[in-house]
Symmetry: C2
Subunit: 181 residues, 2 copies
C-alpha cells in the first residue's frame, strides 16, 4: 500500500542524534536509532520531527527542496548528510528569508549543494520536498525550529505518482526560472 | 474516482462575480458561471482562485476552516454565502493575524459565523478547509490577495477519507482547545 501519512506539529523536542549520525547508506530503522546509547537528557522516542527526518533520510538518488524558510539545524544536517552520501540535492528558496539570521542556505551552499532563489516581489512560499521522485512531502511547515517546536502545522507524506509528477513539474519550472545564467 | 487535484499559485486575476452571485444552493457549473454576462474588464475564465472558490462553494452541510491568515475579499464572500445558505461554518484562526488590517475575521463574526482563535505563543499556522467532511483542501496558501496573486503556492484538493478524518480530528482538538469558556 502506498505511503500516505500526516505529521502534525508542534513536535515534541526529542534527540535526533542517532538519526543524524547514521553511517552512510545504512538503512535507518526505529529499533536501531531510537536510543542508540545516547546519554543526553532529551527523550529518544519518535516525534513529528524525527519522522520528517526519517522520510528525508530515506533518499537514495535525488532530493528536491522548495522551501520558503530553512533554518532548522537538524533538517540542515540531514540535507548535508544526503549530499555527502551522493544524493543529488537541489534547493529552491526565497531570497527574502535566505538572508535572515540562522538560515541554513549559506551552509548548504558552502557544502557544495545547488541552491537557487527568486528575485521577484512575490514570495516563493512553497514548503515541499520530493524524495527519489517517489515521495512528496508538503504542508504548512516552514523548516524552522520556531515552527517545528511552537506552531500548529501539518506535513503530508505521500507516495503518490500523480502528485509527485505535478510537484516535480512545478519544481522544474521554478528551477529554470530562477536560473541565474 | 475520488478527486485529487492541485492548484498552483500565483493565480491569474479573473472575475469571480458570477461564482459569488450564484443563487442559493444552485449547482455552480463551468458553463453557466464562466462569463454569465458580466461586462467588467477582467478575464472571465477559470483560474486557481476560481477553482478554489468552486471547491469551497460546493459545501452543502459543513465547512471547517483552519487558517493562519484570512483577508481575501472573494474567499470571505464565499464563506459568507455558505453561511447564508445554511452551511455550518466554523473558523479557527491565529490571533496575531486576526487583528491586521483587511482581515475578514471581523466581518465573518459580524455575519454570525463561529470563530475561535489561539492565545499562545506559537502560530496557528495551518491553512486547511474541510468541505462536507468529505474533501480536504490544504497547502501553503494563506487566504490573502497578496498570496493569491503574487506568491508561489500550492493547494491540494483531496477527496480522501483518511486524510479528512485526520485533519478533522486536528480541527476538533484545536476547536476545543480554543474554547473561550
Ligand atoms: Zn540524545
Ligand atoms: Zn466580470
Amino acid at each position: 500500500r502506498p505511503r500516505r501519512e500526516v505529521l502534525f506539529f508542534p513536535s515534541q523536542v526529542t534527540c535526533t542524534e542517532a538519526l543524524l549520525q547514521q553511517a552512510p547508506r545504512a538503512e535507518p530503522s526505529a529499533s536501531t536509532t531510537s536510543s542508540a546509547g545516547c546519554l543526553c537528557s532529551l527523550p529518544h522516542g519518535e516525534s513529528a520531527l524525527s519522522r520528517l527526518l526519517r522520510a528525508l533520510l530515506a533518499a537514495r538518488v535525488s532530493l528536491e527542496l522548495c522551501l520558503f524558510a530553512f533554518s532548522s539545524p537538524q533538517l540542515g544536517r540531514a540535507v548535508q548528510l544526503l549530499h555527502q552520501r551522493g544524493v543529488r540535492v537541489r534547493v529552491v528558496t526565497d531570497c527574502d528569508y535566505m538572508a535572515l539570521n540562522g538560515s541554513q542556505i549559506g551552509l548548504l551552499r558552502k557544502a557544495g549543494i545547488q541552491v537557487r532563489h527568486d528575485q521577484d516581489l512575490g514570495y516563493m512560499h512553497h514548503k515541499f520536498a520530493i524524495v527519489d521522485k517517489k515521495v512528496l512531502i508538503t504542508g504548512s511547515l516552514n523548516w524552522t525550529t520556531q515552527a517545528i517546536q511552537n506552531n500548529r502545522e501539518n506535513v503530508l507524506i505521500m507516495e503518490d505518482e500523480e502528485y509527485v509528477r505535478l510537484f516535480l513539474e512545478e519544481f522544474e519550472r521554478i528551477w529554470e526560472e530562477f536560473n541565474p545564467t
